[in-house]
Symmetry: C2
Subunit: 444 residues, 2 copies
């Protein structure tokens, strides 16, 4: 055990696992369900993993299956997952000992991918403060709107506002309505706070804090920050326009809305679904060309060390720069007057290809484990689970236990990161003391 | 024009284009069809591109639409495409002048990815001799079997044997039967010569010649040869076992065959379809899990400088080694006691990602251009066209002109290679005289 824990890269997967198992145990208890019944282990594990990994994929009708306490538990699991287990653990250590050892400091830095912002303790305080401040603002606006505009009782409005604010900011994806947020997709007082919260939460603190600190000098941002901020803007913009175009005349989604409604609903769908996984428009009724679009956007995901999953925006755009350099025949990959280290390039490539391999393998396995699911739906559901997005075309609801375990594993791997997990398993601590002669094989 | 041609990287795409346009012009003539009618430009362009790029995808019923002279023309276009335009052109130059200038020599080396096998002239002779010898052996066995076992007239048997031998060795994929080679899938006298020919042709001459020369010392093969030979064996083996398992009880394909029939038909399907694109089992009736399998195998394709397309076997397995090194935390990527140059790694990555991007974009475009095609079928057809495999789930037969042009473009790009084409467009001939400071952005 001691030897297992000595390597920090192994602590992240183990930490997530512990919280998931704890959540699973609590969710199997009778108090968590409306019917006061025992939930099966497979379903409890799926739901706990879905919450902790901030995926939000559900195998049953969330508001009618889980009781009030069950939903509070899901909220807490989402918040714990969203803050990052190690960040949370470090906060506790901080409160108790008010002092972090070097090892914990390094661990927190590994989890938050922090790059020289300063003191870890101060960073944790700022992270927590930002999270709760954002969530509070979102909650107040949404709850106020539900109270004043939809005749909710005040308590009910506050509960719904809190639940959805936590879910949206953490890109959690669970919601309290059987048809998702469809009813609010054209109400900017509800959809905008949630959308903006999901976008901010999906950028990640490293990029967010640097952009906030140097907002006058975007040219001096770190490469990762530039890639994340501009890349997210591009993905949001392209996704919004593409979705709007694809769905414009689709009566199953926004076809019968007026222009303002079409624009609002499309923006909400992209902002909340792309990484957040909230059901906004009915996912099963989208135009055929919207599926590849959403699959690609889900696969890319959000910012590094954010509540969003996927291969990450910076990874995707860095690979774009690598391609461009190779096509131009240039030896260096440069992003905004900075040469990108080959180690970063190899890291980005590994993350992307490993993720791709897992999605392909997961899709095939899901087809084998599930009778009669065509592979486009299996691909959608697998990508959604792996990228911890949580959008569903309905496959998750009709899964066998085997299929549930498969998607559970994908959500877990997706949250921990396939490379982190792969490294935890394959890491070679023995260093090679010699190098083999170089060869330049012709490929492609 | 002179400036355009000065850069060798631009000659390959232009060379293919010229032959395709020539073939298109001939195919629009009345003599090429059974009905003695004019073929539309879109269809003629599609068919010429399909033949020259050795894809073999067809938009009409090949044996009942094209006349005898038309089919001979398709055979010639396939053979020209399979030999490689530049190899063919160099052969003509050789025959005329019996002497190659330095530029031509370099060009042929670029196209055949030749690595130090020796003199170009001798290489070309060996390539041509190998191709025609293999095709002759295949033709004799297949024609003999058709003559003796299927009551074909001798002339008919020779024609069918020649047509299918040329198609199989070049991974061309056209065939003379409306239901493909289904009738012969369990007859080893027909299926084995074609399968082995397709496998050998799909390995590519660089790997083939080195493996043949040093067959006693596989440990001393070049990295690219090792990756191609062992990788192809792995893909064939895994593909065969996976397909056999997936289809074992599927009455639409091999479910009602005896064990020997199941084994033979599955092997033939993998050997002839994976890169060759011959229809063996009815593609539309395969089990759902066979589609992701075939899509992945088509996308990977065959050997470098072979008649097969895709990202190439060596690219795929080299990326596997890159992933493994990154997971192990090792600075060098080593394959069989050789360190792989970072330039090769970046090349492999670019080919894979550019291909992936083109398949995704092509799939989306095909959905937009084609009414009512679900995206799994669009993905299959796009991957097949781009990887010049030519297998079809039937989308190609019902395409609009726009859809035909799209698949035509994908076959062309797939044959030329997206990186070659991208470089031809984006190549930067001006060298930068300074390097920017390095940064190591955190991604993933
Ligand atoms: K999510
Ligand atoms: K082919």
């Amino acid at each position: 055990m001691r030897r297992l824990l000595r390597n920090p890269v192994r602590l992240v997967p183990i930490g997530f696992l512990v919280v998931i198992l704890l959540g699973t145990a609590l969710l199997t208890l009778r108090f968590a369900t409306v019917q006061y019944e025992r939930t099966s282990f497979a379903t409890a594990l799926f739901t706990a993993t879905s919450a902790v990994s901030v995926t939000g994929m559900a195998v049953n009708d969330t508001p009618n299956y889980w009781s009030g306490p069950g939903l509070v538990l899901i909220t807490v699991l989402t918040q714990v997952g969203g803050l990052g287990i190690l960040t949370g653990a470090a906060l506790v250590v901080l409160a108790v000992s008010s002092r972090l050892g070097l090892r914990n400091r390094l661990l927190v830095q590994a989890e938050t991918a922090e790059y020289g912002i300063g003191d870890v303790r101060w960073l944790l305080v700022r992270i927590a403060a930002t999270v709760f401040a954002c969530e509070a603002v979102m909650m107040v606006i949404v709850a106020g709107r539900l109270w004043l505009g939809y005749d909710y009782a005040l308590g009910e409005a506050v509960w719904s506002g809190t639940f959805h604010a936590v879910q949206a900011f953490n890109n959690g994806g669970f919601n309290l309505y059987t048809d998702g947020l469809l009813a609010f997709s054209r109400d900017p007082w509800v959809s905008m706070p949630l959308s903006l919260g999901a976008i901010v939460g999906g950028l990640g603190f490293p990029a967010l804090f640097e952009a906030a600190r140097r907002w006058r000098q975007p040219g001096r941002w770190a490469v990762a920050t530039k890639l994340t901020i501009w890349g997210s803007a591009v993905l949001l913009g392209v996704g919004f326009v593409a979705l709007l175009t694809a769905e414009w005349t689709n009566v199953g989604t926004i076809g019968q809305y007026d222009v303002r409604g079409k624009v609002l609903a499309s923006f909400t769908q992209i902002a909340l679904s792309r990484t957040g996984g909230f059901a906004v428009l009915p996912t099963g009724s989208l135009s055929e060309e919207s599926y590849p679009l959403l699959i690609v956007l889900m696969f890319i995901g959000g910012g590094s060390a954010s509540t969003a999953g996927g291969i990450k925006v910076s990874t995707f755009f860095l690979l774009g720069f690598v391609l461009w350099a190779e096509m131009r025949g240039e030896p260096d990959v440069t992003v905004g007057r900075r040469r990108v280290a080959t180690a970063s390039q190899r890291h980005a490539i590994t993350v992307a290809l490993l993720s791709l391999a897992l999605v392909v393998a997961g899709t095939t396995a899901l087809i084998v484990l599930t009778e009669g699911v065509p592979f486009n739906r299996a691909l959608f559901e697998t990508t959604s689970a792996f990228s911890t997005t949580g959008l569903s075309v309905g496959v998750a609801q009709s899964l066998s236990d085997g299929g549930q375990y498969l998607l559970t594993a994908l959500m877990y791997i997706g949250r921990v990161g396939p490379l982190t997990l792969g490294s935890a398993i394959a890491l070679n601590t023995r260093r090679r003391r010699y190098r083999y002669p170089e060869e330049q094989p012709i490929v492609g």
